[in-house]
Amino acid sequence: MSTLERDPDDGMVQVIDEEGGVVGDVPDLSEDEFVAMYRHMKLARHFDERAVSLQRQGRMGTYPPLSGQEGAQVGSAMALAEDDWMVPSYREHGAAMVRGLPLKETLLYWMGDERGSHIPEDANIFTPAVPIASQIPHATGMAWADKLKHDGETDRAFICYFGDGATSEGDFHEGLNFAGVFDTPNVFFCNNNQWAISVPRERQTASETLAQKAVAYGFEGVQIDGMDPLAVYKATAEALEKAKNPDEGERRPTLIEAVQYRFGAHTTADDPSVYREDDEVEQWKAKDPIPRLERFLRGQGVLDDDRVAEVEESVREEVADAIDAAESTVRPDPESMFEHVFAEQTPEIRRQAEEFAQLRERHGDEAFVEE
């Protein structure tokens, strides 16, 4: 039976428990895929640690850490087919790297360099949206376009990520409602990490689960253990299938609530000790998706100390290289500010750009930037 059709009262979907023991149907992944999943998660975690430290050292601006959420991000991203699309929020660089977004881009973006927002042409990733929930209608529209363009048949699905807080916004409601009405090939993936900055999940809504909100849109919602990468993979794969499998009248969007926890601060500008207890953090750390998958894979004989060390080494290198690459990128050309507003500059923008060039000439860049 598809995990999506479960009775909501059956609780969260789980495949491996906190010790890495098998408690559900293990998805059919090859050994390489299992290792890749593990490596992606390690990469995301290590990247995250380094990014936080770059910010602390003043080498990067505000940054939103993802530690604790690797299982949900990597598990779901790996379930996507090559042609599928991902519509992220600001915290999904872990998922985006699985889909081919170079770490360097992510670093540049958080270093305030506009060029970091350019998604490589061959990666089916939408530019991250900062206004909470506002990307949800986009994802619906993208999926809808695909369906319309391919005459109702489609073999692509569109996963859209957002947080627990996002479910309170009108755009969540409108985006999911359109998806229900027009049967768009969407998977709405809610990273319920228990907190929207300082506001706890229970304060966002009185509904018992976030998954049950799908009832309002006439499609299925499922709550899964978001710190179990295999449960995430499985539920996402099933939802993607349902989104694109074109059996007449059976294509439906799905809402997935992946229950998880953000170990760190909301962003580097946030101090979580003000609003939550260390105890709570510790409890959730026991569910850390990385050791959990590692234990499972060691148990399966897929990982051993050597392979783990290899992965750790290669991950460290990859991140270090990306940081070097980002930091050695020449600063963006200030005049680029006037580009990419329209396909063609308007006369007024051209005039302002010229004025700006003269201004810089007159005063030198020292007048603008404290070095």
Binding site: E114, R115, S117, H118, I119, E121, F126, T127, A129, P131, S134, I136, P137, H138, A139, T140, G141, M142, A143, W144, A145, D146, L148, K149, G170, D171, H173, E174, G175, N177, F178, V181, H340, V341, F342, A343, T346, P347, E348, I349
Partner: protein, 335 residues
Amino acid sequence: MSTQDQEQAATQNLTLVQSVRDALATEMELDDEVLVMGEDVGKNGGVFRATEGLYDEFGEDRVIDTPLAESGIIGTAVGMAAMGLKPVPEIQFSGFAYPGFDQIVSHMARLRTRSRSRYTLPMVLRMPYGGGIRAPEHHSESKEAFYAHEAGLKVVIPSTPYDTKGLLISAIRDPDPVVFMEPKLIYRAFRGDVPEGDYEVPIGEAVTRREGSDVSVFTYGAMTRPTMEAAEELAGEGIDAEVVDLRTVSPMDREAIVESFKKTGRACVVHEAPKTGGLAGEITATLQEEALLYQEAPVTRVTGYDVPYPLYALEDYYLPNAARVADGIKEAAEF
């Protein structure tokens, strides 16, 4: 289409709202990726009949009745456009665009910039605007200044059936998002010759509706009519007003504005939007920035008042009319 072809092309005598429909039908015929969506645009043909018959002609996949949700309409259109479709969402009245305002200013206006042109939005957001039709609250506002102040949007406001069709076709073909505001007061007020087939009227170019030497009057949309009326009236009194119809309020045709002003040295700006923060301020500032030495009189502003648009019993007092416009022109002329 060359000018010659145009002259040869059959013309129809259409109202402004019919020319909206004609532009949509023309582009939908020529380009499969163009689609129309919004509240009641399908079977009902739009509450103003701007999409009449399109549903029967192009089917429910290209003329889409949506749920009642402006942010959903604009937000899904953003997603569609990012994937290469050319959606033309309709907002029923400009006063109901605000639930979707975030999608307009945070996304429609910025996706190209944000993605460094990886994603672009060939979409047109249509909305009837303005007063004078005896409608309930929120059905009569004129808030083009909101959109003109947001970088990344083009804002077009036609005033004739001919321009409406040509500008709407240009807007649909524009690779960037356009807010297309339709003066519903004159949706059916008069007819004009409109060529069959496709033609473009360029975005960003003003047109002189009446040449004159004494005062330049800058206006757009539904206010073009009382302005022309006032200008004709004043001609009898020996004041020769030049009327410039902006047609696009962003990007504004500053060149045409300044050129006319250099000729007359006097100006009056007419719009129905409230005075404070309205585009008359922008135009005035541009004039004195670029042509102060030509200025012979204060630029007068004939605009809506700084009060919420009243219910219809008083709307005729709120909206600039020919008498008020004439006063404004005279004030500039006689200073």
